[in-house]
């Protein structure tokens, strides 16, 4: 028994890797769907967006890169779909250098679906370097932060920017954030100073960091990780259905089941083996 456990503990880690791969691929090939309850933080985000009137302006900060795409793309798409469906004007900007090439096709795709006009119904201001400094500038003078948009138009001349000078002039700010700089920096730098309404969609890794901001009322909604995106997807596509839409986060959430179980089993078995062999050694 002791020998077995000892051998078990020094199992080549490539077998562990293989197990992980199987527990991800298997439920994708043979999907099993479990229903899930919508989180209160996502519900509150959705409800606030439902209060928007046609013509209201929202600033979306798309701060993610390909690595965090699986978690945030479903939210970003559903969010644009949600706001376009409500005739809300959307201005998008980004603080991550790798975000523009990633989000431009998504924005154009959704704008085309809703027949939105560039410059009037939506605009993409592009990437701005400088992390906290850039956020401070968005709070201070967004035209100065983004003198030209991603298509080299003069930002101040865009009809959608009429009456907009700083972050405060937007109805809401949506921060789709994969880390630094992102939601936390928005809250730190300008939320309190200008009393802004901000909601966040973020990766699982950052979620526990942002919950205190949500509880303190610094964020009005928080969609965390894959479940957050999946819940929001469910809410949006339930009320604003689209034919043939792929609910990527919902699909991924079903796959996560086995992945989590696998990790839990590894921790439990690893510890059992560790304690049994340690007792024998002592």
């Amino acid at each position: 028994m002791y020998q077995f456990l000892k051998r078990f503990q020094s199992l080549d880690r490539r077998w562990v890797f293989l197990g992980m791969a199987i527990s991800i691929v298997l439920p994708m090939l043979f999907p099993v769907h479990f229903p899930t309850k919508v989180d209160e933080r996502v519900q509150s985000l959705y409800d606030r967006l439902e209060e928007l009137e046609p013509g209201d302006k929202v600033f979306v900060s798309a701060d993610f890169d390909p690595a965090s795409r699986p978690e945030l793309e479903p939210f970003f798409r559903a969010n644009l779909h949600h706001m376009f469906s409500r005739d809300v004007d959307i201005v998008i900007g980004s603080l991550w250098p790798f975000a523009p090439p990633l989000v431009t096709p998504m924005i154009e795709d959704l704008a085309a679906q809703h027949g939105a006009v560039y410059g009037e119904d939506y605009a993409f201001l592009g990437f701005k370097m400088g992390n906290e400094l850039a956020i401070k500038m968005i709070g201070d003078d967004i035209i100065k932060a983004f003198p030209v948009d991603s298509r080299e138009n003069v930002t101040a001349d865009l009809p959608i920017m009429n009456g907009i000078r700083q972050a405060q002039d937007f109805e809401l700010i949506m921060s789709v954030s994969a880390g630094f700089p992102g939601t936390k920096e928005y809250v730190l730098q300008i939320q309190g100073q200008y009393n802004l309404e901000i909601a966040s969609s973020t990766t699982a890794v950052s979620t526990p960091d942002y919950v205190p901001f949500y509880k303190a009322g610094q964020l009005f909604g928080l969609a965390g990780g894959m479940p957050g995106s999946a819940h929001y997807e469910q809410l949006v596509y339930e009320d604003y259905p689209v034919e043939g839409v792929r609910m990527m986060a919902t699909q991924a959430l079903d796959v996560l089941n086995l992945g989590h179980l696998y990790i839990i089993i590894l921790i439990v078995f690893g510890n059992i083996a560790f304690f049994l062999t340690r007792e024998v050694e002592e």
């Binding site: 999907p31 250098p97 730190l188 309190g192 699982a204 979620t207 990780g225 339930e238 919902t250 996560l256």
Partner: protein, 281 residues
């Protein structure tokens, strides 16, 4: 909280429009599959295919970062403004030149001025931001009105995820204990030790939550890659390659390409491993 009946799963309804895939797109999909599997081959062992992919990654990520920074900052905020003849923009240009002098041996001390500028600017901005959002607001939010909480949730309410007077007091005292755990200039008395221990317990629960979420985040990323390798990232439409030809299902096509690439990489690894074993003998 409400429970929603789910009408469409991820594999839902699919529009049956045929699309044309250009050869460049086809090549792109294959390259992307190859690079993905090449990086994953590191899980077996560090090998030439992985090294190749890794160095391509280094080169391309730096170049794309530089391009986006050029179009996102240098062009609009500096070059365009200088071209307009804005005299004030000469100052950042000078600071920039001083910064770049860092690579020289003789004038590298000049870079201290722009470095001082940027560090001080960050320090100033962070100072007020942190003190406001992370200190003042967080403290202000940890002063619950207990009678009001009792009226709303009672001592403990399962319906509101355990909100209530107990949790409110736990939050205040827990936070105090954590803060006192970080009180370094206090002499270690018995009561301080107890408070400190409570602080540690609260911190560990907090880290546990973080841990669980991080596991979820990392697996989510792997799921994203698997979705692409299995062709689940886009609807499985029928498509033709180039102008003519028979239509083929996108999902089957991607899966076929993934499988072939996987086999090629495995064969390569096997040969490489054998050759290496041989050399070692």
């Amino acid at each position: 909280m409400i429970t929603l009946p789910l009408t469409t799963t991820g594999f839902g309804i699919v529009p049956l429009t045929a699309e044309v895939m250009t050869l460049s797109n086809l090549a792109g999909v294959w390259v992307s599959i190859f690079l993905t599997l090449a990086i994953f081959s590191f899980l077996y062992e560090d090998n030439p295919i992985y090294k190749l992919a890794e160095h391509i990654f280094l080169g391309i990520s730096i170049a794309i970062g530089a391009t986006e920074i050029y179009f996102g900052v240098f062009k609009p905020n500096l070059i365009d403004k200088l071209a307009e003849g804005r005299l004030l923009s000469i100052i950042p240009l000078m600071l920039l030149v001083m910064l770049l002098l860092k690579v020289t041996k003789k004038l590298d001390y000049m870079a201290k001025v722009p470095i001082a500028f940027i560090v001080a600017a960050f320090a100033g901005v962070k100072l007020t931001g942190e003190a406001n959002a992370n200190l003042m607001t967080q403290v202000a939010q940890t002063m619950p009105d207990l009678p009001a909480v009792y009226e709303e949730h009672g001592i403990w309410s399962w319906d509101a995820d355990g909100a209530g007077v107990f949790s409110s007091i736990f939050l205040v005292l827990g936070l105090c204990a954590c803060l006192l755990h970080f009180y370094f200039s206090a002499r270690q008395t018995k009561s301080m030790a107890v408070v400190s221990k409570v602080g540690i317990i609260v911190l560990m629960l907090s880290f546990g939550a973080s841990f669980g979420y991080t596991v979820m985040g990392r697996i989510s990323l792997a799921i994203g890659r698997a979705q692409e390798l299995l062709g689940l990232d886009k609807p499985p439409i029928e498509m033709t390659i180039g102008a003519g030809g028979d239509p083929i299902n996108r999902m089957s096509l991607v899966r076929m390409m993934s499988l072939t690439t996987l086999i090629i990489i495995i064969v390569f690894l096997a040969v490489w491993q054998k050759k290496r074993n041989h050399q070692e003998d």
